[in-house]
Symmetry: C4
Subunit: 254 residues, 4 copies
Amino acid sequence: METKITVLEKPKLKKPILIEGLPGIGNVGRLAAGYLVNELKMKKFAELHSPHFLPLVIISDESVAQMLKCEFYYHRGKRDIVLLTGDTQSILPEGHYDVCEKIINFAKSMGCQEIITLGGFAEGQQVEEPRVIGAVSDKKLLKKYDKLGIDFGKEHTIGTIVGASGLLIGLGKNVGLDGLCLMGETVGLPLITDPKASDRVLQILVKILGIKLDLSKLEKTIKEMEEKIKQTDDIHKNMMQNIPKKDEQVRYIG
Amino acid sequence: METKITVLEKPKLKKPILIEGLPGIGNVGRLAAGYLVNELKMKKFAELHSPHFLPLVIISDESVAQMLKCEFYYHRGKRDIVLLTGDTQSILPEGHYDVCEKIINFAKSMGCQEIITLGGFAEGQQVEEPRVIGAVSDKKLLKKYDKLGIDFGKEHTIGTIVGASGLLIGLGKNVGLDGLCLMGETVGLPLITDPKASDRVLQILVKILGIKLDLSKLEKTIKEMEEKIKQTDDIHKNMMQNIPKKDEQVRYIG
Amino acid sequence: METKITVLEKPKLKKPILIEGLPGIGNVGRLAAGYLVNELKMKKFAELHSPHFLPLVIISDESVAQMLKCEFYYHRGKRDIVLLTGDTQSILPEGHYDVCEKIINFAKSMGCQEIITLGGFAEGQQVEEPRVIGAVSDKKLLKKYDKLGIDFGKEHTIGTIVGASGLLIGLGKNVGLDGLCLMGETVGLPLITDPKASDRVLQILVKILGIKLDLSKLEKTIKEMEEKIKQTDDIHKNMMQNIPKKDEQVRYIG
Amino acid sequence: METKITVLEKPKLKKPILIEGLPGIGNVGRLAAGYLVNELKMKKFAELHSPHFLPLVIISDESVAQMLKCEFYYHRGKRDIVLLTGDTQSILPEGHYDVCEKIINFAKSMGCQEIITLGGFAEGQQVEEPRVIGAVSDKKLLKKYDKLGIDFGKEHTIGTIVGASGLLIGLGKNVGLDGLCLMGETVGLPLITDPKASDRVLQILVKILGIKLDLSKLEKTIKEMEEKIKQTDDIHKNMMQNIPKKDEQVRYIG
């Protein structure tokens, strides 16, 4: 089996901007993405499945089995949007490259020239007034995002961005996509969903997209998303802690 | 080497239903599958080998070496059946997707339109009267299996189904197969073969298949299967506990 | 990079028998194979390299770097022989299948119809008078090897044979090769080279091959092989104990 | 995604010598390579990206995201040089073989017939006057490098060379490249950048290359490289210690 994107509908979009919000630290990106999908009534048009995800199905409240997947949604507006969210990221280092490359190729085929990834930045302690920390794919973009209140390493530097939020920027840059990563400050591990950090990220994102969004419903939406997020959080926690070691070196008799 | 299905015979079957019972929690699925093979005198017609299995051979009482394998059996009746059982599942996460996809493709090529997977549900404690918990590939199937005594999440929900019993439902759904997973409640880890849970799963399965099965011999059959099951149980326990770590990150001097 | 066999010479051989003795428990197989190479003045004609070996080179006393490899030797006699020995086995479970399949295909292309694998059987305690325990690819072979003093599970059973000595029998069987595995009883872990167990295996092997071999030099040869064996033993010990974990699940910020 | 070398410029070079200095013990090789790039004002002409690297991007002081990469530089002189340095090596054993094979093929396509790899040799304790220990791809090369003060195992032997510095010599040898590995003695783990060991390696390297190099600036250059080296050191330390286990064997219910 290969990482595969199944297209359910082929919307015609004008140079859409790709926005990514997958599970991660504080679920900041995923929560923000989910809120956008709800509030903009975005429509799903593609799904991504991958052997790099955990080998399991999720069972819904109605006892229906669902493969782990990422989902692509679209929205037509002043700026057309392709949004990527989902249940999980790759569980293998090499899988991250494979999945992210497939996503970037798909975005290119949709006409995307720009990508914004959303995530959390683990501070290791409670943050009263979370800032939004940014990174770009090219120095020239710093001006473009100058007046939005993003902290581009002024106050503290970030060494690396691990996973899809980082790799999509890096791989996108290699094929000519402008990239911006927005990270809301949050506690980090253990995994605690952090709506406040999502709120800050969304406040900046709506300015960039030039859309109006009623952020007052964020708390309510989070409650609704809570059950599903808890379920996949549990998967990720399990993945990292409880399960026995995989592919082990085997003592050989021969 | 690739995951490969070797066909020993090409039986013509009418829209057979695929039934899976591979090793897992409580060996509930494997035991139920083994009993069906014995009682219905099912005939083996294909074998699956995979590099995703442990790199070893099993030695029989007669000192004959056997590769780890999964086996396909068939039965002609009111409903034609293709049954999948075997020594093991994949030991690698990615391997699960590969092996299960090959199984689903093979089932499609045999004309299967429906799949029932059998397994155990780990309760973490002794269960006096084990229920059979179910999950389906599509909501519309809930009605079809309504009156059989399957607990579709009424009393407690199940978050995920890991391994072949889950993935076969998920991957099958993607290519149009209706799927049902039947899980008998059992203790879970450590691995203890649980005939009672198998019995409950079989009682529901025979109703679905419309066959008669003398379940009184289940205990006796289990005794007969015990030695072989113990052997592969030991493999799985070893796999999870005793063996040194595999492919390790190597310190480099250079 | 792929697992690759480089042929240095193409000897014409009459239905040669493949004999395998790679590193493993007690180095029983490797030692026996090395002694055969020396005493029969066998000639190397092919090398196997694989990405499934550890990513390192061995440095000789003369400061010359050598890739880890397996080596094929041949001998013409009453029975032509192809002998496989080397520095290492695969370090990854899946790698074992890949490497062993390539070996079996190569053996087939050389005209081999029979394979004998040599190894140690870990008893977990000192063995005063080590027996040689055997396993075959097919029940019919038990008669053929009846009168040689091999213990075919009479006194205690062996559950599995892990690694090349097992897989070569299993994979060979799938393509029509008759297989015999000879295992000399030895302590097992920790890795202690066991010449006595090798001696017992060789005593049976020479009867099967119908060759004369001066086993009195075995002790002396072992001393000569000691340095090199220690070197690769160290590699395998390191591989199993000291080195940090490999390909790890990475926490993602995004 | 595959390991891929992107060529930015196609310089014509006369039988260039390939020099490798990637991150490793004491950063000896990387530091020496970086100093050569600076002092000889070498020009970058190619980049290597690989899914075998950690799935992350590095963030520069200016908040610009960079993929992990290796870089090829060239220099025209008495001896034309192709120099390989970079952020990282493969994190997976199998990845090392893949990355190194791609590098060797690229070097061959550039006309390289010789390769020198630079690294540190972990002594496990402080070394007052670090020697440079050498290994070659072929015995005949020992004479060639006879009078340069390289210790070819006279005083203590080295068992193995792990990672790119070793594998490039081994894989290069297989396609006809003469190889020399120069290793400066250093403490080893924990990772401490060791300019003194780099200095000793460079002193020998400049003699081989017949170039003049002002080594007095080494200390200053190290300060300049310090920040970037620290960043990727942190990555490697994290990689080896803090992060949760990757691709794990999953308990299956089914």
